[in-house]
Symmetry: C2
Subunit: 234 residues, 2 copies
């Protein structure tokens, strides 16, 4: 066997990491980079904090020195509406953790758009995996964050791509709660200070929306200080 | 039973019709409108003939008096590339009908993006069906035009939407060849003159790309005159 082909064999597989700029996706990318070469994908979908999340994405990609990046715009989701995240006439609820049913922040079928972009890009650049930081536990209300959903998407990729394409969605945090995510992030030295979770604000996190509440609870449970400042904090 | 609720029960279901502006989608929309109220969806994906296809979409929607319309832009597919339709450095092949393998005009996983938009929109406006004019026979090379692909997508919709959402993809032309599509269109008085099929040109159809060749063959086999002029025609 010639040395060139041996080196080629040892090259780690390419993984598309969906990096929203939030905590879960940043930890997921760190997990992917343990064994894979990363390509970072960010999607703007007309959400309230679009600009701030993009800034977090670029900062995280710079931090890890990831050159392969794609930012895709699916702002037609804003025209479609139906969610407090994309329709500014629907207020983002405060303090609603643990309420039954699907939250009004659910963006209908959103992950299917993001995974379609990842799959198309992955098919062109030869990716083997798509890493997504979905958690079934914390987002039990979102139908497109469940294991059965990702299993169905993996079947769709098999059916809808070239026979030689082998792309698989990986969800390393699917069974984790926020405390476990924070602990995993600490172990991987994730740059928490660069991440953004707030659904409402773009300057200082509100500390009241469901995403802030989940984050605050997770850091507290893990006994770790959240480096992000919150509104009204000393 | 009160009269109002009786009328409501009799209201036909809402169907999202994917109208690219081509022959197949126009005939499919005509089929959908036999039993459903239509909502027309068009998607720009940075393809060569984007402007001409949008013009065809608007003309067909005007012809049928469809007010519920959505035009979505997924031009990130152009940034992703990998197809002769979106990457202008890859030439559109001429006279390639019947060649084995997946044509270079395949846009990786494209239908998954379009169906995701249809599903998100459908979930918000309460659609029951998504009509798409895919044909397995003529597009055997495109993996995302096969029955097994649409079956996988229907499972994905079930998994990824609210429990009360019941949206189903319908492919009335899946087993038809172009001759059958033309015959079906004649029976439904489809405005063939408003449709656009050419992959290459936006003014007069080239008559040489695989899409033109399929269309010309279909009209000839059905013994119907194609009202569209072609380059070099008398």
């Amino acid at each position: 066997m010639i040395s060139g082909s041996k080196e080629r064999q040892q090259e780690p597989p390419l993984a598309i990491c969906l990096v929203s700029g939030g905590l879960d996706s940043c930890v997921t990318a760190a997990i992917a980079m343990q064994n894979c070469r990363p390509a970072f994908l960010h999607v703007n979908y007309g959400q309230r904090t679009e600009e701030r999340e993009l800034k977090a994405f670029e900062a995280i990609a710079d931090y890890y020195g990831v050159r392969e990046r794609l930012v895709a715009d699916i702002s037609y989701l804003k025209a479609i509406g139906g969610s407090a995240l994309t329709d500014h006439d629907i207020p983002v609820p405060e303090g609603s953790l643990g309420k039954p049913g699907i939250p009004i922040t659910y963006v209908p079928f959103r992950n299917s758009h993001i995974l379609a972009i990842a799959t198309s890009w992955g098919e062109v650049i030869g990716a083997r995996y798509i890493y997504i930081g979905a958690t079934e536990l914390d987002n039990s209300g979102y139908p497109d964050c469940r294991k059965s959903y990702f299993a169905a998407y993996n079947r769709l990729i098999k059916e809808g791509t070239r026979p030689e394409t082998k792309i698989e969605i990986v969800t390393p945090l699917i069974d984790s709660d926020k405390e476990m995510v924070v602990r995993r992030g600490v172990a991987l030295k994730v740059p928490f200070h660069l991440t953004w979770s707030c659904y409402q604000n773009q300057d200082i996190a509100c500390g009241k929306c469901e995403s802030c509440l989940l984050r605050i609870k997770g850091f507290a449970a893990a006994g770790v200080t959240d480096p992000i400042p919150y509104e009204g904090q000393q």
